[in-house]
């Protein structure tokens, strides 16, 4: 199994406002503290490479305390020059949120060239709330996503200049300098919540599928749908196309890990993902078919998720190194996920680094049967 260190770069605060997204006033943001946090978080990502993680993940979110990386490419740029081995996975850029998605093709190519071909490019639509904070019309989201993806892939793979005349994006000259180093282009991943349209789209293009913060039974179901779709398109999914993001807490013993998980992981669900209900469901963001599937089995809002339920449903992993190994076996052996994208949060920067070291020494080596495999070969392109 491959291990990628996933960072949200949260701004951890408790507050009583109804939403941690869009409307939570930025008066709560202290830039001096932000300076310390950004540098600690980047230190953690850099440490992850030293400790043996295969990849480092950044991501895009806007106007919230859950994740303070509105531009993931900026963070990736800092990591490119401070690391030398690890893949740098940008999970991802919100394609429909951009008015000029050619800029994404350019920035990823810059990072790919500068890093010597270590970049993985996530393509996402952006979560629902982001359509409120960017004012992009959510009813255009899906079409803009497909169109921007096509534009970027063509910009990376076809010799320029060529004209592009889409419904949302139009260019008389597509001819970005630089071109990406990886051929035919940097691997593309699709982090998603499991809409069947995205599963189909990703499977058709061999783009790895990443499930973020999802209960285990749902991961199993979506992986099944993805594998089926791959077979329909005439190939068998590589295990490195099946990626999972689950928060992990590891400590000397189960009790200690549980106490940390209850406090720090549950903050992500209960506070970080607290949202004014209309922000979850902007009109037209989902197809009506997806909406009906959701209504048939309505998920609980993360802000109402209790620890016992989160534990039972497999929203998180915690325990002693031995317990964490056992729980990870479910992902590696039963779900057959090839890549684990997980971050860790301790009570302080130092304790987070200690937790990472414990994981790297006591857990990771037990899953290294594929140490010599390059997980990006033939995957995502």
């Amino acid at each position: 199994m491959k291990f990628y260190y996933f960072h949200l770069m949260p701004y951890i605060i408790d507050h009583d406002e109804p939403s941690s997204w869009v409307t939570l006033s930025n008066r709560h943001y202290d830039p001096a503290l932000g300076h310390t946090l950004y540098n600690q978080y980047l230190d953690q990502l850099e440490a992850a490479e030293r400790l043996g993680w295969d990849g480092l993940c950044v991501n895009e979110h806007h106007q919230n305390c859950y994740g303070t990386m509105p531009s993931p490419n900026v963070m990736a740029a800092m990591l490119v020059r401070r690391t030398s081995r690890a893949k740098i996975a940008i999970l991802g850029n919100g394609l429909p949120l951009r008015e000029n998605p050619l800029r994404i093709a350019e920035e990823i190519a810059m990072l790919d060239v500068a890093s010597g071909g270590r970049v993985i490019s996530g393509f996402v639509r952006g979560i629902s709330a982001e359509y409120f904070s960017t004012a992009v019309n959510p009813t255009h989201s899906r079409e803009r996503f497909y169109e921007a993806a096509e534009l970027i892939l063509r910009a990376w793979t076809e010799e320029g200049p060529f004209p592009f005349d889409g419904r949302y994006y139009r260019y008389p000259y597509v001819n970005p300098w630089p071109r990406p180093l990886q051929k035919p282009h940097p691997p593309v991943w699709c982090p998603s919540q499991g809409s069947s349209e995205t599963v189909e789209w990703a499977a058709k293009r061999r783009f790895p599928y990443l499930m973020v913060f999802t209960p285990i039974t749902r991961i199993a179901q979506i992986y099944g749908e993805y594998r089926e779709a791959c077979e329909r398109h005439g190939y068998q999914a590589s295990r490195y196309q099946l990626t999972v993001n689950v928060p992990i807490v590891v400590a000397e013993n189960d009790a200690k890990a549980r106490a940390l998980a209850e406090k720090h992981v549950m903050w992500v669900f209960n506070v970080g993902l607290r949202m004014h209900p209309p922000f979850w469901r902007p009109p037209g963001y989902m197809t009506e078919a997806s909406l009906r599937r959701l209504l048939a089995n309505p998920p609980k809002p993360p802000s109402e998720l209790g620890f016992e339920e989160a534990d039972r449903e497999g929203y998180l992993i915690y325990g002693s190194p031995a317990t964490v190994r056992d729980k990870l076996r479910v992902f590696s052996d039963e779900l057959k996920a090839g890549i684990l994208c997980s971050g860790m949060t301790g009570p302080s920067h130092e304790q987070t680094l200690e937790m990472m070291q414990l994981f790297a020494e006591e857990v990771m080596p037990h899953f290294r049967e594929d140490a010599r495999v390059d997980e990006t070969v033939g995957v995502g392109r």
Partner: protein, 262 residues
């Protein structure tokens, strides 16, 4: 009881309620108001032949992917007038329907005997930004739209079934498609209002919190040549739901004065 008519307007299916006798009157509903025959329509049907189509994606009319702009809806209703062989008609539009009605009037005043706009949105008003409707939950919408919250019961959903929720989502999607950004207006429309050559009555709820009388109602009355402004003292954004008799009476009187139809 109104009759339900199922039409196909240049390939776009439309559900339309129709009742009454007299001069033809086309009523364009606001967000969430499709497929309902309320007191207001009953009152109008005493004096007019009332046509009440549901916008694409509303009520029983399926969503129409080709609609990208409010002017598409305006052309859609000009097509509807053609299909019904109505050379001229009175046009009444409320809120979002008022926006469509105003677009129609800028294009084809000669097709209209009179124009009544009830708390329309659709223009950029100096000194006012419409509160962002799509971020409101139901209680916030009721507080913003209604002065008399009891009047909101007329639009209350029958249940919370998947069917009802899917319809609400479809309706919200149809509105968002043309009104998310710019929110609730067409930047080009305000200047074009000067083209309207139809006698126009602008009705406004004194307590409209979505589009307040000052500055919104006053701007509309100023921009449309010769428009009359009539204020309804006990209404918010939807006087035709909050004071249906008074608004229907005002519409009847105005159309009689300016009708040009026999």
């Amino acid at each position: 009881m109104p009759a339900l008519r199922e039409l196909s307007i240049r390939g776009t299916p439309v559900h339309m309620l129709q009742d009454g006798a007299g001069s033809p009157l086309l009523f364009l509903h606001g967000a969430g108001g499709g497929g309902r025959w309320l007191d207001f329509q009953t009152q109008l049907a005493k004096a007019f032949s009332v046509y009440c189509p549901s916008h694409p994606g509303h009520g029983g009319s399926p969503a129409a992917e080709w609609i990208e702009h409010v002017s598409d809806l305006a052309f859609h209703y000009l097509d509807l007038l053609d299909a019904l062989e109505l050379e001229r008609a009175h046009l009444v539009g409320a809120s979002f329907g008022g926006w469509i009605a105003a677009e129609i009037a800028t294009m084809a005043s000669h097709r209209l005997a009179s124009l009544v706009l009830i708390d329309p949105v659709g223009i950029r008003v100096d000194g006012w930004i419409y509160p962002f409707l799509f971020a409101m939950d139901i209680p916030e919408i009721v507080t913003t739209v209604f002065h008399n919250p009891l009047a909101a019961l007329a639009l209350a959903p029958p249940d919370q079934s998947a069917e009802t929720l899917a319809l609400q989502y479809r309706q919200g999607t149809a509105i968002a498609r043309v009104a998310w950004n710019p929110h609730l207006y067409d930047p080009l429309l305000r200047r074009r209002l000067g083209r309207i050559a139809t006698p126009t009555l602008v009705c406004w709820g004194a307590h409209d919190r979505l589009a307040p009388l000052a500055p919104c109602g006053e701007t509309w009355a100023r921009e449309i040549p010769g428009a009359r402004l009539r204020v309804f003292a006990d209404s918010g954004h939807v006087p035709h739901l909050e004071e249906p008799d008074a608004v229907a009476t005002a519409v009847r009187e105005f159309c009689r004065l300016h009708g040009g139809l026999r």
